[in-house]
């Protein structure tokens, strides 16, 4: 099963290396990782997607906790949460196919953010299924390049993943 972990870390040099190193050393697989600042100065948040059984995830969480720079680890898959990812996708787009493309983009509430004579760049946000669905639809037009941010997630409601 896939788990989404929210990991609050001290914003110190090498902290990403420590986390990544831990995963490779213990044989855990990171499927996906997104890192960024939080509203608290000095604290960054990593959103890590890992595949594994309950026992493996338990070990992952405990081992992460042991890293001195890790402040808090929460498993967001265990609670109601919202999750999003952003994807930029560059596709072949001759003048003939542009309106078809435009329609797909609208259906998926995406945005065209760049147009050139032979190609377009489209921006989509959403969950995993949405990304896969839109990729599938664009295959026939010709996908030139894809880049994804990795997933980020928050708990639903007023509760927060605080540093406590």
């Amino acid at each position: 099963m896939k788990h989404i972990l929210a990991v609050l870390v001290e914003d110190k040099p090498g902290v990403l290396t420590r986390v990544a190193g831990l995963f490779s050393r213990r044989g855990f697989n990171i499927e996906n990782i997104a890192v960024g600042e939080t509203n608290n100065p000095g604290i960054s948040r990593m959103t890590i997607t890992v595949e594994g059984s309950e026992t493996i995830i338990e070990q992952v969480i405990k081992q992460l906790h042991k890293l001195v720079n890790v402040i808090k680890v929460s498993n967001l898959s265990e609670e109601p949460s919202v999750m999003r990812e952003l994807m930029l996708i560059k596709i072949t787009a001759e003048s003939g196919s542009r309106s078809d493309i435009q329609q797909i983009v609208e259906t998926f509430r995406g945005k065209v953010i760049d147009v050139s004579p032979e190609s377009m760049i489209i921006e989509v946000t959403g969950n995993e299924e949405k990304m896969e669905a839109i990729k599938l639809l664009f295959i026939d037009f010709g996908i030139k390049e894809i880049v994804r941010t990795g997933k980020v997630a928050l708990l639903r409601g007023t509760r927060i993943t605080s540093e406590s």
Partner: protein, 564 residues
Amino acid sequence: MKKKMMKGSAMILSALKEEGVNVVFGYPGGAVLPLYDHLFDSNLKHLLVRHEQAAVHAADGYARVTGQPGVVFATSGPGATNLVTGIANAYMDSVPLVLITGQVPRAFIGTDAFQEADITGITMPITKHNYLVKDADQLPSILSEAFYLASTGRRGPVLIDVPKDIFDQEGHFIYNRKCEIPGYKPTYDGHVGQISRAVKAIKNAQRPVIFGGGGLIRAGASEVLSKLVEKARIPVILSLMGLGAYPGDIDLYLGMPGMHGSITANYALSEADLIIAAGVRFDDRVTGKLESFANNAKIIHIDIDPAEIGKNVKIDIPIVGDVRVVLEALFQKLQPGHTVEWLRQIENWKINNPMPGVLKSSGGTVKPQFVIRELSRLSKEETVVATDVGQHQMWAAQHFIIRKPCTFLTSGGLGTMGYGFPAAIGARLAAPESNVVCITGDGSFQMNIQELATAVNNRLDIIIAVINNGYLGMVRQWQDMFYNKRYSHTVLEGNPDFVRLAEAYGAKGLRAKNEEETTAVIKQALSEKGPVVIDFVVEPEENVYPMVAPNCPINDIIVGSDQL
């Protein structure tokens, strides 16, 4: 709190003073020249080793005996990389160390400068934490954090990499031993509810055993363990790392479990209905085949490191906390169960399954087990034993009677040949009143034999008992048992004459080839000053028994070669 301007080097030495450090183990070089220059005028004791690996092992031995962090200095590049084995060794056995390495000056970092090595990158997976100092102003807080991290929670090595120019940079020195690290909050008190469950489980158990490890020793839990055992009449099994946490000569002690453990210990673990595991990590050398490990037992697992609980073995009652604190709490509420019949059963196992291999040797030679037993018998009660790795290590664990915590130093997790002798050097400085005996092999000794110079130079009274079988014995044993006796590269042809070698270094060299000589040279060595190397020429192809073959159930025990 004092605040003043100081150079980086001075800050380091002041911090060591604040931390009560009495001795540093180290080796100089270009990147630590400024630090060593300050050291020259300081009254801090520095022990100059002959190889940086030995500095770490010596600091490790010192730390295991005193419970305080051992401190190491080394230079950048090769000095730092020479520490790696020692650090990994200390990490696996949870030994508190603070290692200070020099680094190339800040402006040169990342340029492949002369003697640059990314030691923080290299040691990330084998340290509890590490630091690369970016400014002298950071040094005081980094140093106090390093000592705090190394010596609290689950102990471990912490490395501080200091660029050369920072040793000379002026900064504000404010030293505060209390530090707040947001991501580091070890749990010391056990969960009350889990402790009550444990109390009930102990009361209801018919066949309980305590299985203790190195965590007992690090936590200083021996006394409370003895009280608890006495009151509840529960037998005790100790892992290799736990030896000494409970006296090895008391009836309720069953020995070490696992691959070369006692038959009684392995039977008891297999038949127990309750295992109280304290400060252990269920290493594969202990559990054997996991699926058949302790199938009849409920397991209570007490450990300071939550990640150890449930890592290898399924746990029924997990208790995260300091082993001493939790055992105290358990003891307060303890309601002894009925263990009389179980103890009778165990007594029978003991009588019927004595440790093999203690028979007298035939034909004027000497068996290694006899040597260890004589060392044990003739040494005074206050003795620290440091072992190397191999057959001699297992014989030491089986036959040397260890009565007190912090007196048996051995490389348990990493199995590092070359550990024993430098660890004995550290122990020598840590325990001035004790005898220090290093039990080593002809292979292992040669991995750090250069430290004879350190020992001679500092007139360290250490007995180095070389169990000389002419082989990399433990590997030969596996070749004997599992590879058709094809002794591929395990014959140590070309061994030096250890007696003459000792003499060349200025140490005393003695030799024993039979039982009478063994007893005589041990007595003589105990009366000598300075390091004494004893070359015990033992029966070369003796194997270690009992043995549980790898990945077999631990009650499936081979007791001798006729069983193969």
